[in-house]
C-alpha cells in the first residue's frame, strides 16, 4: 500500500517536468504571488494575515497538499481558491518555486 502511494506520488510529480509554464507566464505567476498572494502573505512572503511562504516555512509541507490549497482554498481560513486564475500545472510550478525560493 505504501509502495502504491509512493508510485502515485511519483507519477503525480512527472507532469511538472512535462508542462512547465512558458517563461512569460512564469513571470506573471511570480508577479501574482508577490502582489496578490502578498496582500496576505507579505510582498516579501514573510507572512501577514496568512503564514510565511518562505522556503524554510514551506520545506516540510507536502507539495501535493500545498497545490490543493492553492487551487481550492482552505476552509475556515481566508485562503481563497485560486483555480479560476491558475491551472494545476501552474499551481504545481508555484509550489516548487516557493520551496526553492521565488525568483526575483
Amino acid at each position: 500500500m505504501h509502495r502504491l502511494a509512493g508510485c502515485i506520488a511519483f507519477l503525480a510529480c512527472l507532469p511538472a517536468f512535462a508542462a512547465e509554464p512558458a517563461p512569460e507566464r512564469r513571470a506573471q505567476l511570480v508577479e501574482l504571488v508577490r502582489q496578490d498572494c502578498g496582500s496576505c502573505h507579505g510582498l516579501t512572503l514573510k507572512g501577514g494575515l496568512g503564514p510565511s511562504l518562505e522556503p524554510a516555512a514551506m520545506a516540510e509541507k507536502d507539495a501535493a497538499q500545498l497545490e490543493f490549497v492553492i487551487l481550492h482554498g482552505r476552509r475556515g481560513t481566508p485562503m481563497p481558491p485560486w483555480r479560476s486564475f491558475l491551472t494545476e500545472e501552474e499551481a504545481r510550478w508555484i509550489v516548487e518555486a516557493l520551496k526553492r525560493g521565488l525568483p526575483k
Binding site: 502582489q35 496578490d36 496582500s39 507579505g42 516579501t44 514573510k46 501577514g48 494575515l49 482554498g73 481566508p78
Partner: protein, 380 residues
C-alpha cells in the same frame, strides 16, 4: 557659467525657505520601492519622495496633530516618522517582526502600532518614538483605531475579541476585554463621532458593534446573517474598514464573499439597503459631505471603481482608473478623488462632480494614499 551656478546656489542657500502649510499635502505609498511620494492637492503634483522605509507591502499612515509628520507603519514592523515639509526621515524604529497598522492618540502624544508577530500593540512617544508600553494579545491584532480619551481599540483575529486600551497613563495602560464578539474579525473602525467601534467579521456574516460610551455593555451583532445562508464567493483581497464609510445616517460596508455594499443605519443599527456592485468591495469610501460613496474591488475586478449615489442607493458611475486599483482618498472637502493604480504605475486624480480625470501622476506601484486631513479625524 560655472561661477553663475555657484552664485545661484549660494543665494538660494541664504534665502529664507518659503513658508507653507501642510493642509493640502499628502503621502502616497510606493509599495515595492519602500518609498513614499509626497503630493500636493492644490496643483496636483508630486513635491518629493522619501525612501528607506522598508517593506511597505501592507502599509498605513497616521499624521501628527500639526499635520507635519507622517507615521508610516510598514509590514516588516518598521515605524518611520517622516517630516513632510523637509521630505526626510525624522526617526525610524523596527518595532516588531510583522505589523499591520497603527493609530495616534486623541492628544497626539502617543502612537500605537498593531502587530501580527508577536501579536499585540506597542505604544510609542510620538515625539521620540521611544517605547512606552506594550500590550501582548497572543493573537493577530487587526482594525486598530483611536477613540476619545486616549484610548486605542482593536480586534483579535484568532481570539474573536475586541480590546479597549486606555493609554491615558502610557506606562500603565488599562485594558478592557470584550470576548466572544464573533468569528475572525478582519478589520474594524471607530465612527467619525468617536462613539462606536465596529468590527467586520470574516468567519461569519455580520459585524460586531461596541458603544464606547458603554463598553461594559459588551458587543452586539449587527447585520447578522447578511449572506442569507448562501455559499460565499471567494475573497481574493480582504476588505478594509475605517470611519470614511459613514455618510450621514448611513454606514457603507463591504459585504464579505458577496458582490454587494451593505448599508447600515446608524440610528437603529438595521440594514437600510444592500447595493449590488461589480465585485468583492475592498474600500467603500464616502465623499466628504456624504453625497456619494466610491468603491474599489478585489481581483479580478480590481480595474474598476464604482460610484454609489447615496440618495438613490445605487451605482451611478463606472470608472476604469487603471489596472490593480488599490486605494482611493478624497481631498478634505471632497472635490477631488485620488485613486492609485498599482499596475499602471499611476495615481489618477478625478473631479468628483464631473468625473473628469484632472491629472495622472507617475508613481511606482502606488498603494495607499493618505492626505493630511486625516490628522484631525477621530478613529485614525
Amino acid at each position: 557659467m560655472k561661477k553663475l551656478v555657484v552664485l545661484a546656489f549660494v543665494v538660494a542657500g541664504c534665502t529664507t525657505p518659503d513658508l507653507r502649510g501642510t493642509g493640502d499635502l499628502g503621502v502616497v505609498i510606493e509599495r515595492a520601492a519602500g518609498r513614499v511620494m509626497l503630493v500636493e492637492t492644490t496643483r496636483r503634483t508630486a513635491i518629493g519622495r522619501v525612501a528607506g522605509l522598508g517593506d511597505l507591502s501592507h502599509a498605513s499612515i497616521v499624521f501628527s496633530r500639526d499635520a507635519r509628520y507622517a507615521y508610516v507603519f510598514g509590514r516588516d514592523g518598521g515605524l518611520t516618522k517622516v517630516d513632510i515639509l523637509a521630505a526626510r526621515i525624522e526617526r525610524r524604529v523596527i518595532q516588531s517582526g510583522n505589523a499591520i497598522g497603527g493609530a495616534i492618540s486623541q492628544d497626539g502624544r502617543l502612537v500605537a502600532a498593531a502587530n501580527y508577530t508577536p501579536g499585540g500593540i506597542r505604544v510609542f512617544d510620538s515625539a521620540t518614538l521611544e517605547l512606552l508600553s506594550e500590550v501582548p494579545t497572543g493573537s493577530k491584532v487587526v482594525g486598530i483605531a483611536d477613540a476619545p480619551g486616549n484610548r486605542f481599540v482593536f480586534s483579535l483575529f484568532e481570539a474573536g475579541e475586541i480590546w479597549i486600551v486606555d493609554a491615558s497613563r502610557p506606562h500603565q495602560p488599562e485594558v478592557t476585554k470584550i470576548r466572544s464578539i464573533g468569528k475572525q474579525p478582519y478589520d474594524g473602525f471607530v465612527t467619525p463621532d468617536g462613539r462606536h467601534y465596529i468590527a467586520g467579521l470574516y468567519g461569519e456574516d455580520g459585524l460586531a458593534l461596541v458603544d464606547l460610551w458603554h463598553p461594559e455593555r459588551g458587543a452586539r451583532r449587527v447585520l447578522a446573517g447578511y449572506g442569507r445562508g448562501e455559499e460565499p464567493l471567494p475573497v481574493f483581497k480582504m476588505p478594509h474598514l475605517r470611519g470614511w464609510a459613514a455618510a450621514g445616517r448611513y454606514i457603507f460596508l463591504p459585504a464579505v464573499g458577496r458582490h454587494e455594499v451593505l448599508v447600515l443605519d446608524r440610528v437603529d443599527w438595521t440594514e437600510a439597503a444592500r447595493i449590488p456592485v461589480r465585485g468583492q468591495p475592498v474600500f467603500a469610501v464616502a465623499q466628504p459631505g456624504g453625497r456619494r460613496v466610491w468603491v474599489n474591488f478585489a481581483l479580478p475586478h480590481n480595474d474598476a471603481v464604482q460610484v454609489i449615489d447615496v440618495d438613490a442607493m445605487k451605482v451611478v458611475k463606472d470608472l476604469r482608473p487603471g489596472r490593480a486599483v488599490l486605494h482611493l482618498e478624497f481631498t478634505p472637502r471632497g472635490e477631488q478623488a485620488w485613486v492609485s493604480s498599482r499596475d499602471d504605475n499611476a495615481v489618477a486624480v478625478y473631479d468628483t462632480a464631473s468625473y473628469a480625470e484632472l491629472a495622472r501622476l507617475p508613481a511606482e506601484n502606488p498603494s495607499g494614499i493618505f492626505l493630511t486631513s486625516r490628522a484631525a479625524m477621530t478613529g485614525f
